[in-house]
């Protein structure tokens, strides 16, 4: 059974290779090939899952070593896979959602002449993401980590002719690289501390290691997670990443890739458990991002960017949970999975809306679409209910668990975290309701575009709606399925461990509080956007609104400090290189030339002056000889 693990990766990798190298003759069948390979991977995943269920809870980890990758004295990196319950969860999520989105893309990308390549990239992404989650050591994980970064780069910039897309892709890759730097330093630290960076031996060695080192490793891993999962302070790329085709946003920037940071932290639980300081920072980052994303999500008029803010915020929840340690690991992953369903569904819905609206993204130019695209409305609505935590739906369970876990952290910390999560839940309810109202309710607000084409909203084709429906099912039922009898907790516990913590308030109280804030959030949104007509042009808004529209000024900060500063730095360095470093060399050459020119003048053509030189030379010669003897 172990030997099947490599097949998980091999299938989409082969698909990518075939599609990208195949050339134009595959154009007509490319999307089917891509989907087929993704589905094959999913099937392998399911087979492995069934096999895993058949074994005992402690016997569920599978290993497969393919070959020795980088064998250097004292440094062993293998291409080896490890499939345990945590990895399995991700494998199913990735291949499952991935396959659905492949199917969706068949319709969505129908008119794109480069559709074959799009599927090639998607397959490449699946392969990289699978490597990321089934690697048995950090270096191979790093391969997947950068691989998804590459796929994300290619897909965000898929419409390269748009400068904004190309810029966004570059930005995403760069910001991710900063995070990657953290991961590579973490690996180096592990190498010097543990002498290895394979999961098993490294986690075993944590007991013998000083807390300082572990904290350092933890913080570096957190930096990596921040980059990949768009957490403060490396969150700025996610909004721009919405330049990519919507299926990409759904798959990569909502359901799977961005959650890799959560995976990393949960996977490295052994390290974080022994480094409470690092955990504290993780929690803080999660809490800050949770609010940050939510606030940004409130202000955006671009439907995808609003959803992106929401993604950021939801991952903040997960990171916060992961930072809580064994109390939260399971819930982090659980929220991750449910979020994968409903957020992918929301994005697909948004894509469907855009598909019907000539790729218009401004929600202020939507309105009343429920009549035109009922399937989208229903699936989107279910996703909406799930995310705000409507009782009984997926988000209700998973988010509630995290809020409880936050309180269970105990002490002042627990209270603060609990309140923050509650506040986040309120804001979530607000901005999601806003999106819902602006898009599907109210009057139609769209106008003809510059060329006079009025959009004709229509329902999307089957290939798009079916994945949306499937995901809607997930959004509705996954949470309940996981939570009933703590199924999910028991499933993951052998890997992550679990701890109930000391909740200062009862679960019921928390649930009640959650309900209250939810209603408040929805109500505010209703008063602002449901009761009166929405202006097509956004009002100026308060200072906070304006700041939130600009991603709370973080991009401006980046622009001024990093971009401008960097430009000045490189420009002045170019100048320095030219004038100073090179100048010294050229100056030496020039001064030689000058010296030569001056000395040359001594050769004035007059025989008598030559004689003077000889005479003088002789005199010096004699004088020097005599002087030497005198000395």
């Amino acid at each position: 059974m172990e030997n099947l693990i490599a097949l998980l990766v091999a299938a989409p990798l082969l698909g990518a290779a075939v599609l990208l190298c195949g050339g134009r003759r595959l154009d007509r069948a490319g999307h089917w090939i891509g989907t087929l390979f993704a589905a094959a991977s999913f099937v392998v995943g399911v087979v492995l899952f069934v096999d895993m269920l058949g074994r005992g809870a402690d016997d569920r980890t599978l290993h497969q070593k393919l070959f020795s990758w980088i064998p250097v004295e004292g440094f062993q990196a293998d291409v080896a896979f490890q499939l345990d319950q945590l990895s399995m969860t991700f494998v199913l999520l990735i291949t499952g959602v991935g396959t659905l989105i492949h199917i969706y893309s068949i319709g969505y990308m129908e008119h794109d002449e480069r559709r074959r390549r799009f599927f090639g990239y998607l397959n490449l992404f699946l392969a990289a993401m699978l490597i990321l989650v089934i690697a048995d050591n950090y270096l191979l994980l790093y391969v997947g980590w950068e691989g998804v970064g590459l796929a994300s780069y290619l897909l965000i910039g898929f419409w390269q002719h748009k400068p904004s897309a190309a810029t966004a892709a570059k930005k995403a890759f760069l910001v991710n690289r900063v995070g990657d730097m953290g991961l590579s330093i973490a690996i180096m630290l592990m190498f010097t501390t543990f002498g290895t960076f394979a999961f098993g031996p490294a986690f075993e060695a944590t007991g013998d290691t000083s807390e300082g080192k572990l904290t350092a490793i933890g913080l570096m891993l957190l930096l990596a997670a921040c980059g990949k999962s768009a957490q403060v302070p490396l969150q700025s790329w996610l909004g721009d990443a919405m330049e990519g085709p919507t299926p990409v946003s759904a798959l990569i920037h909502a359901a799977t890739m961005v959650t890799a940071g959560v995976y990393l932290i949960v996977r490295s639980g052994a390290i974080f458990n022994a480094a409470p300081d690092a955990q504290l920072v993780v929690v803080i980052v999660g809490a800050v991002t949770l609010l940050f994303g939510a606030i940004v999500g409130c202000a955006k008029d671009d439907i995808k960017k609003a959803l992106a803010g929401s993604t950021m915020s939801q991952i903040g929840y997960m990171i916060l949970a992961a930072g809580l340690g064994p109390i939260g690991y399971v819930f982090a992953i659980m929220h991750l999975v449910t979020h994968g369903f409903f957020k992918a569904g929301l994005f697909l819905g948004a894509g469907s809306v855009m598909h019907g609206m000539n790729d218009e993204v401004d929600m202020r130019k939507y309105g009343g679409l429920r009549k035109f695209m009922p399937v989208t409305f229903v699936t989107f609505g279910l996703g909406y209910l799930a995310i705000i935590g409507f009782p009984g739906l997926s988000g209700f369970f998973s988010k509630d668990m995290i809020i409880e876990a936050a309180f269970a952290k105990g002490g002042t910390e627990g209270w603060i975290l609990g309140c923050v999560t509650l506040l986040g839940a309120a804001i979530t309810a607000f901005y999601m309701t806003r999106v819902m109202l602006l898009t599907f309710f109210g009057e139609k607000r769209w106008q003809p575009d510059a060329e006079g084409h009025e959009p004709h909203p229509h329902e999307s084709p089957k290939s798009m709606t079916i994945p949306m429906i499937v995901l809607a099912f997930g959004s509705v039922f996954a949470g309940g399925f996981f939570s009933i009898g703590d199924r999910f907790m028991h499933w993951l516990e052998p890997v992550t461990g679990h701890d109930h913590g000391h909740a200062p308030v009862s679960a019921t109280t928390v649930t009640a509080a959650t309900m209250v804030v939810l209603v408040i959030g929805v109500a505010i949104a209703w008063t602002m956007y449901g009761r009166k007509p929405v202006p097509v042009v956004a009002p100026r808004g308060s200072l906070l609104t304006r700041a939130a529209r600009r991603d709370l000024l973080q991009d401006d900060f980046n622009h001024v400090v990093l971009v401008r500063g960097g430009e000045h730095l490189t420009r002045s360095l170019v100048y320095v290189d030219h004038t100073l470093v090179d100048g010294v060399v050229n100056g030496t050459a020039a001064s030689m030339g000058g010296l030569s020119g001056r000395l040359r003048k001594l050769q004035n053509g007059y025989a008598r002056s030559y004689a003077v030189s000889m005479f003088g030379g002789a005199a010096v010669l004699i004088a020097a000889t005599l002087l030497m003897r005198a000395v």
Partner: protein
């Protein structure tokens, strides 16, 4: 020196003189065999004079060329015979009543001089480069050197097909002097040899066919400065004689070392006066440094190299340097080893300013012959570094360098003779632009020579430079090696400039043409290239030769 002491010496010395018995004269013995190379050359030179007098004008050129080549070849054969006979090693001895030393360095240098002269003579004899004047093929020399440039008499001479075939006996005389110069074993022979090879060179400089004013100017400058320097040399000889009471190298060396057998009172007095020794040694050195073209006695070099007929320049640059360095070596190693520590700083100084000065001033030169002149100055500096090493290794490295350098130099100047425009040789660098496009082979050959000058590995120049620097470093002159390395880097710049010009510049529309030479010049160039490459890749045989030859007889 106090006056009274000398006065008393003077009187007593007088007594000794009067007491000298008159019956001690014995007939001198001359080892003709050992002197054969010199004698052959001188003999044929005299014969050449007779040829000028008695052979009809039309046949003179052929006769002279034939005689000269035969003489040089025979002399070279004699040198080889002597070396094979062991005179370079165990049988090395002083010949001709102590006037001449026949030993390893002598034979090596004589052999080098003879071979270099031979290939130079080929360029002298070249008659295909200039367009024929009035149906007569002409060489690089004036039709009638005495005629005023541009005058009717000159035109008449050209029309009549006159040529200055006297250059061949002149070259032979000069070669004869050069053969003796490094072999000279007393100061008198040194001086006479110097004059014998210098005087014909003064004349040779003056007889260019083209640019005659420059040629004459070069001759005047060379002559006046040369005579000036030989006056210094002679004064130095007089002082050394005064110091040691003898002019024989061995005798002086003994006095300098203090190992002299019998010390008469006069000698005792002068011996005590180091000023005589030091000033004398410095002035002789100056005379020799003038000949090798070391800074600050180098000022004649660029002007003379530029003005002289190019074949003469090549000959002069190569052979003179060999002979002069040979004499310098012998002087320093045989006569003045006791002064090594006194002269060392001075020689260091000269070597350093020579290396740097030559290299730096060359950077801005615009005439190829002047450029090569400065290059020769820089090379003199490198060789001086080896001379200073003061070890047998130093000697052999210098011998090797001289051999290497002379062939490359002759070859390089031979190439210069090929590049011509309407006014004769096109020596201005701007004219050389794009030569690589017009005649890649010529340019490539010249580039090989330049690379060898620059000391790029796999050329003979590198082997030589390495040998010299290694000897210098071994001899404790590491500082000189560093300076040498720096000036090599500077020197590389101007060699490269020429290469850049030849290969990377677009040819000018009015650029020069490259004449197709006769087999004579081709031989010269081919020998140069062959020596450059062979001694670059496999120098071992010649290094062996040089190191076997590296011991002076006393």
């Amino acid at each position: 020196m106090s006056a009274t002491a000398v006065h008393s010496l003077w009187t007593r010395a007088g007594e000794v003189t009067t007491a000298a018995p008159g019956d001690k004269f014995t007939a001198p013995t001359i080892e003709y065999a050992q002197l054969a190379p010199v004698l052959i050359v001188v003999g044929v030179a005299v014969l050449g004079i007779l040829v000028e007098a008695f052979v009809p004008r039309r046949a003179r050129y052929t006769t002279q060329v034939f005689l000269t080549v035969v003489a040089l070849a025979a002399a070279f054969a004699a040198v080889v015979g002597l070396a094979a006979g062991g005179y370079a090693g165990e049988k090395a001895q002083i010949a001709a009543m102590g006037a001449v030393a026949v030993d390893g360095p002598t034979l090596f240098l004589q052999g080098t001089i003879l071979l270099v002269s031979m290939v130079s003579v080929f360029t002298f004899a070249e008659r295909r480069l200039d367009p024929a004047a009035h149906g007569n093929r002409v060489d690089s020399f004036a039709a009638q050197a005495g005629a005023v440039p541009g005058s009717d008499s000159e035109k008449a001479a050209v029309k009549a097909g006159f040529t200055t075939t006297e250059v061949f006996p002149l070259v032979l005389f000069s070669v004869a002097g050069m053969l003796v110069f490094p072999a000279a074993n007393d100061l008198l022979t040194l001086f006479i040899a110097l004059e014998v090879f210098s005087l014909p060179l003064y004349l040779l400089c003056a007889v260019a066919r083209r640019k005659r004013l420059m040629s004459q100017e070069a001759a005047v400058k060379y002559f006046l400065l040369g005579a000036f320097s030989s006056a210094f040399l002679l004064f130095g000889i007089a002082l050394l004689y005064g110091y040691a009471g003898t002019v024989s190298y061995a005798g002086i060396a003994n006095v300098v070392d203090g190992t002299v057998q019998e010390i008469d009172p006069a000698l005792a007095s002068t011996m005590g006066n180091d000023a005589l020794l030091l000033i004398g040694a410095a002035m002789i050195l100056m005379g020799l440094l003038f000949k090798v073209g070391a800074v600050p006695f180098h000022m004649w070099t660029p002007d003379v190299y530029q003005g002289a007929p190019t074949p003469v320049t090549g000959f002069m640059a190569a052979a003179t340097k060999v002979a002069a360095f040979g004499a310098l070596l012998r002087l320093l190693y045989v006569v003045l080893p006791g002064l090594t520590w006194d002269l060392r700083p001075v020689m260091w100084g000269v070597a350093i300013v020579t290396m740097l000065g030559g290299a730096i001033v060359a950077i801005t030169q615009t005439d190829i012959k002047r450029l090569l002149a400065y290059s020769s100055i820089a090379h003199a500096g490198f060789i001086l570094a080896g001379v200073i090493a003061a070890s047998p290794e130093g000697v052999s490295s210098v011998l090797f360098y001289l051999g290497v350098y002379s062939f490359v130099t002759v070859g390089a100047f031979a190439v210069v003779t090929l590049v011509r425009d309407a006014g004769g040789e096109a020596t201005h660098l701007s004219k050389w632009a794009g030569l690589g496009r017009r005649s890649p082979l010529t340019a490539a050959v010249f580039a090989v020579f330049l690379l060898s000058f620059a000391g790029i590995p796999l050329t003979s120049g590198f082997s030589g430079k390495f040998a010299v620097f290694k000897a210098a470093a071994d001899g404790g002159a590491g500082g000189l090696v560093v300076v040498g390395v720096i000036s090599s880097a500077i020197a590389a710049f101007f060699y490269l400039r020429v290469i850049v010009l030849m290969f990377f510049s677009e040819p000018k529309a009015d650029g020069p043409t490259v004449a197709v030479p006769s087999p004579l010049t081709m031989t010269t160039i081919a020998v140069g290239v062959a020596v450059t490459l062979v001694l670059g890749l496999a120098p071992q045989y010649f290094l062996d030769l040089a190191s076997q030859a590296g011991v002076f007889v006393r």
